[in-house]
């Protein structure tokens, strides 16, 4: 039998089975909560408390996906708030981080190492540790219960990772390109705009996706603490609306989760298309 694959990629049948079995186990481990969450969203509420517990949703339906809008009319707002917060945070972070990463990657200045270290150290504190001082700060500034109160700490905690990510990427862009542009009369900013930014695009996209996901995930804790206005709530906090006095509407809660994730997921899939590798090909001979 003719095999078109190169020798290094050929496996016997039992190796192939082993590889796919390994992948399946790992995937199941990672996806199990999502699978169960999805199954729960399909079940009628009564079935959830049946004993013995049945994982398979018998006579399951998508009803919960429609009824949840009646129970929590603000759901649309929560999703919108989440996206808005994550989007604004990402944009602000990228505007701050791109020039910063360029500076950290290219310029020698006193305190560069210390600053980078400090950024890393900030990352080691979880936001939760600083909640009380942050709360006091927000209160004295009078910005509690605004979008601002959720955006600013979000930005602050996401900057370090983004700087480290993007700096590493920019350091891989050959210095000769800066020098060539400098010899040709370009200013630093012109070089950054016309030469470095286009080449760093894949790196910027990685940093943007990481920031977006980070902003989406961490907004919960800031929203919970710094905001008590329902109309500003992001989805993470908004989901509490399904927690009633007597019972939790699990199936609608799960359905709301999946609806809430979908836009973010779509955005990430969309951004991923810009992660073009090998854009630097031909810049310099390595």
């Amino acid at each position: 039998m003719k095999n078109s694959k190169p020798m290094i990629d050929r496996y016997t049948w039992y190796e192939t089975i082993g590889i796919y079995a390994g992948i399946a186990v790992l995937m199941f481990f990672v996806l199990a909560p999502f699978i169960e969450g999805f199954l729960v969203s399909l079940k009628p509420l009564a079935l959830l408390f049946s004993s013995p517990y049945s994982f398979w949703p018998e006579n399951g339906s998508f009803t919960a996906y429609f009824t949840l809008w009646d129970r929590v009319p603000m759901m649309g707002w929560y999703i919108f708030n989440s996206l808005l917060l994550a989007f604004v945070i990402t944009v602000v972070v990228m505007c701050l981080v791109v020039p910063a990463a360029y500076a950290f990657a290219r310029f020698e200045f006193p305190g560069r190492g210390a600053l980078l270290g400090a950024f890393l150290a900030v990352n080691m504190f979880s936001g939760a540790v600083l909640l009380i001082p942050l709360y006091r700060l927000m209160r004295s500034l009078g910005v509690l219960n605004t979008y601002f109160a959720m955006i600013v700490p979000g930005v602050a905690f996401l900057i370090p990772t983004a700087i480290w990510l993007l700096r590493a990427y920019m350091m891989r862009i050959p210095r000769e390109l800066d020098e060539a542009a400098w010899v040709d009369g370009a200013s630093r900013l012109y070089t950054l705009r016309r030469v470095i930014l286009p080449i760093a695009m894949p790196g910027i996209m990685v940093a943007a996706i990481a920031t977006f996901i980070g902003a989406y995930a961490q907004q919960f804790i800031f929203a919970l603490t710094f905001n008590s206005k329902t109309e500003y709530m992001p989805i993470g906090v908004g989901l509490f609306a399904f927690f009633g006095r007597q019972e939790v509407i699990w199936n609608e809660l799960m359905a709301a989760c999946f609806i809430g994730i979908t836009p973010a997921l779509l955005i990430i899939v969309f951004l991923q298309r810009y992660l073009v590798a090998g854009l630097t090909a031909g810049a310099v001979k390595q």
Partner: protein
């Protein structure tokens, strides 16, 4: 008129002095090559002229203007980098047009100038391609194109051919030389390859450890090296060095006892003080011939390389030292079988104990060759 003048140029990184006082005068239209072993400071020197490195001391004057504190673009230079430094996201056209766009020229002007440069470099059909799709030689031409469009007074090349394979390098070398003829501009070229230096330069500057060892035309350096370093660096294969003791020295001749190899009488205007001193006699491999000559000695070949056009023999001398000889064609020599080689002493070099050349006319005022 001299277009580029370096006077007592110095560069230090911390306590380490990389360039130790360089003086150089380049006239308009000259092709100057900086050559030297790696780490000798030749690239640093070029980057100082370009304005990419700060000057620690001394002056750089281009076209009569002190440029030490000016940014590169105001110095009237253009530089071609070793790695080409092309912008990968731009087309060839945009790459070449980059300096003009920075300058803020009109679209028509840009088209015209890029078109002219592309024509000179035969890149017309490639203008819409990205650098990534070009071959090494074409990328090199794009890099040169980007330098040409600015119409600089001086072109600076930092080892531009070192990334190309041997065949392409020879081709590009010829192309660069004809470009120099066409443009007639001053070019300063850095290389570690002495063949490039010999073939391309009007003037070679041999650098070693941050100082200039010698400045001269290729043949001057070949025939009259000022010191052992230049003698050893210029020429391939390397010059053979034999050490010996001077037994007699007068206005006409210097007699050197080379131990087991023999006693050679060199036509040199030697100072009487030389007698008794240890000196070095240099013999270029290609100046040796099979059989007897005015000075002859025995060698035993170890490895013999036959290249058709000539034959290289890596030999040992009677005193066990290594010796390389080069003969035309493919003479009958065999590994391990000793034979006699001869050389005309007039073609030998003589260096005193400090490694400084003892020239024929030096000290005595004689001008025979």
């Amino acid at each position: 008129m001299s277009q580029l003048v370096l006077s007592d140029l110095r560069k230090s990184f911390g306590d380490l002095e990389i360039i130790k006082g360089v003086n150089l005068d380049v006239s308009e239209g000259e092709f100057v090559v900086f050559v030297g072993p790696s780490g000798c400071g030749k690239s640093t020197l070029l980057r100082m002229i370009a304005g990419l490195e700060d000057v620690s001391g001394g002056e750089i004057v281009i076209g009569g203007k002190q440029v030490k504190d000016l940014p590169p673009v105001k110095r009237g230079i253009a530089m071609v980098f070793q790695s080409y430094a092309l912008y990968p996201h731009m087309s060839v056209f945009e790459n070449i047009a980059f300096p003009l766009r920075v300058e803020g020229l009109s679209e028509d002007k840009i088209k015209e100038r890029v078109g002219a440069a592309a024509k000179v470099l035969q890149l017309e059909s490639r203008l819409q391609q990205r650098p990534g799709t070009l071959s090494g030689g074409q990328r090199q031409r794009v890099a040169i194109g980007r330098a040409i469009v600015r119409q600089p007074k001086i072109f600076l090349f930092d080892e531009p051919l070192s990334n190309l394979d041997a065949a392409l390098r020879t081709e590009m070398r010829v192309e660069l030389m004809s470009l120099h003829q066409k443009l007639g501009s001053t070019m300063v070229y850095v290389t570690h390859d002495q063949v490039e230096a010999m073939t391309m330069a009007d003037k070679i500057v041999v650098l070693n450890a941050g100082t200039i060892e010698q400045i001269g035309s290729p043949l001057e350096l070949y025939h009259k090296p000022d010191n052992i370093f230049v003698a050893g660096f210029i020429g391939s294969p390397k010059m053979n060095f034999l050490s010996g003791t001077v037994t007699a020295s007068d206005r006409g001749n210097v007699v050197v006892d080379l131990g087991k190899v023999g006693t050679i009488k060199l036509p040199r205007g030697g100072h009487p003080d030389l007698v008794g001193k240890t000196v070095t006699v240099g013999m270029r491999p290609e100046h040796l011939a099979l059989g007897e000559d005015k000075f002859s000695f025995e060698v035993t070949p170890g490895i013999v390389e036959r290249l058709g056009i000539h034959t290289l023999a890596y030999c040992t001398l009677a005193d066990g030292k290594n010796f390389v000889a080069l003969f035309e064609g493919d003479p009958e020599i065999n590994q391990g079988v000793s034979f006699t080689v001869g050389i005309d002493p007039a073609k030998c070099q003589l260096f005193d104990s400090d490694g400084i050349a003892v020239h024929k006319e030096s000290q005595s005022g004689m001008h025979s060759s």
